[in-house]
Subunit: 363 residues, 2 copies
């Protein structure tokens, strides 16, 4: 292998893939990145067996070849080199990296041992605007669970229902669903939320579409020069749509920033009660007041005024409410519920493509 | 106690003092801040018994008084309130905090139990430009030791020698000294580096002088509306000035950014050898080349060209060299030494108010 590549391109590719490589894995080669010449391009790839990410960058290849080198060292090294042309040259599994000022040798491991995710065959392919997918993912991904003992809830569901595409995630305490628009295809992909975090990073400022190809086992996302392959979670997702209430006895619509601020201040007094705050909605006063009590430290009541129908109170986890409010865009937000034992819903009164459900705490 | 204060002022004062308060201390009240009306101002203070910081802020006091409240809760709470006037009112050790929208009660502890550092009596006072002191501290403070088993090296020495004021710090592997200019007074204060970190933060963008008052036991820094009192370290500082070499056989003067870059790149290959890099200075080629070898990973040689007198090589810790280079200002830097077993010196060829010494490693 012998080639020239710019520091800018190689650094970008390593930045995209290297964090998937992991030194804590049982298989030492998974701490490496795979460098491989492909059709006069250099592909840079890393995998943790669940996810594989590959970025292709332009290169001037004079000898084909491949090698794997430690991801962290390679990334740190290349990122510290000055902009300009870098020569990569392989001699007996030693990768020689040269510029005018720098001469380095990094010991590699032959590429034959690097695990490759199986190819997707007979998959179907469709595409969606990258920025639309990114926005949707940001609005649901945090609602997925981290609890590996219930793998089904650690996924983000990307599926079609009655001609619409939806993203959904839930950890059983809260649930987020985003409508991504109409689609003619039908599918249901349960993708690990961690893979979707990587996809968010990869989409970045991408203009244009992301191509999605899937079979029963895997899904491939292609965004610009980057490919991400993830294993699907093999489980039946709960029928969450029947949990979304359709009408409400109490609806308070307030400025979103007001509700963020009063919730944030109240949450400070809710640390010892696992974030528990009580929302009191008063139709007569047209207010939402948020109350929290810390037996040792003190207590707080904060008020926001708005447009209120119905009165009542409900106790919930302030962190879940803040998480939801912070991914919404509108100036106003509607906080809706039916009774203190039923799920509360947060939504934008002017946009019905996003719904967020929070289960109440016992009070 | 009853008073009005702006959120901006109270938030700034809490930001200055609260990080000294510590919940991990054996004395629970040290996790609190002391609020106290003083001459129509509100003083906000915290201490860890080694350091005490007090900030005074303008307030409209209608009833004098004092109380202590949990520092972290108070700071988080006030920082989340909107700008504008806040009312503080004390009722039976409960601090009521109110704005238009927010009503909170924080349970306090009477101020009588709050430990106060003894006053400095018979101390002498002098002053120095705040920005000059800050710049000097930034150039020496990182050379102080963290090793609490040798308290003398955990301090920064502020002393006068032959009519000049110097700041100095050393951890025995490296030594930094800054000349702060002429002074008529004579003194020698060994101040904990941790207190100087707080002072750096307090000086911030302060225009004008810092007043320094000291006796045998303590030192008081007054910077704007903030006072910091620190206990002095009771130990004899080593006679470090005799370690500074006065002439050199090998001197290489190069662009500072070049030396930073080649050292940084080399340090990546020096992780398994505790940062060990070898500097080779070649008079004929007029180069500094930096070499590092990692038995498993590979090796690197990086070059910088400059103006070189004498040839030789020396092995040292790349982190120490980077630390020194990063607090210097000039475009150029001189790297000087006499032999591979003697201290190397890093200095600005155009400024003689700063000198940095690095002890060699055995190679």
């Amino acid at each position: 292998m012998k080639l020239q590549v710019t520091q800018e391109n190689l650094n970008k590719a390593l930045g995209t893939v290297a964090r998937v490589a992991n030194t804590r894995n049982a298989l030492p080669i998974l701490a490496n990145v795979l460098l491989k010449t492909t059709n006069n391009r250099l592909s840079v790839a890393a995998t943790n067996l669940d996810i594989a990410i590959t970025e292709y960058c332009g290169a001037k290849v004079s000898e084909e070849g491949s090698i794997t080198v430690p991801a962290r060292l390679m990334q740190d090294f290349i990122s510290n080199l000055p902009h300009g042309v870098i020569e990569l040259r392989l001699e007996e599994n030693k990768l020689h990296i040269s510029t005018d000022q720098y001469n380095s040798v990094i010991n590699g491991v032959v590429a034959d041992d690097f695990p490759v995710m199986p190819a997707i065959t007979d998959g179907k392919t469709w595409q969606i605007s990258g920025q639309q997918l990114k926005k949707g993912l940001q609005q649901v991904i945090f609602a997925a669970s981290n609890d590996q003992t219930r793998p089904v809830l650690t996924g983000v569901l990307l599926h079609s229902v009655k001609g619409m595409i939806y993203l959904a995630a839930t950890d059983s305490h809260r649930l987020a669903e985003k409508n991504l628009g109409a689609s003619e295809d039908t599918y249901s992909l349960l993708i690990p939320a961690t893979a979707m975090q990587d996809l968010l990073r990869i989409i970045g400022d991408l203009e244009g579409d992301v191509r999605i190809t899937s079979d029963d086992q895997q899904v491939l996302f292609q965004a610009g020069d980057v490919e991400l392959v993830a294993r699907l979670i093999d489980a039946n997702y709960p029928d969450y749509r029947r949990l979304i209430p359709e009408s409400f006895q109490v609806v308070a619509t307030v400025k979103r920033t007001d509700l963020v601020n009063v919730t944030k201040v109240s949450s400070l007094f809710a640390r010892e009660s696992a974030g528990s705050i009580t929302m009191n909605i008063d139709e007569q006063a047209q207010t939402i007041s948020v109350r929290s009590v810390a037996s040792q430290l003190g207590e707080n009541t904060s008020n926001a005024t708005g447009k209120v129908t119905g009165s009542g109170s409900i106790t919930l986890n302030s962190r879940y409410l803040l998480d939801a409010l912070q991914v919404m865009n509108g100036d106003e937000v509607s906080f809706c519920f039916n009774g203190k034992l039923e799920a509360a819903v947060v939504r934008d009164p002017k946009a019905d493509d996003y719904v967020h459900i929070i289960m109440p705490l016992k009070s």
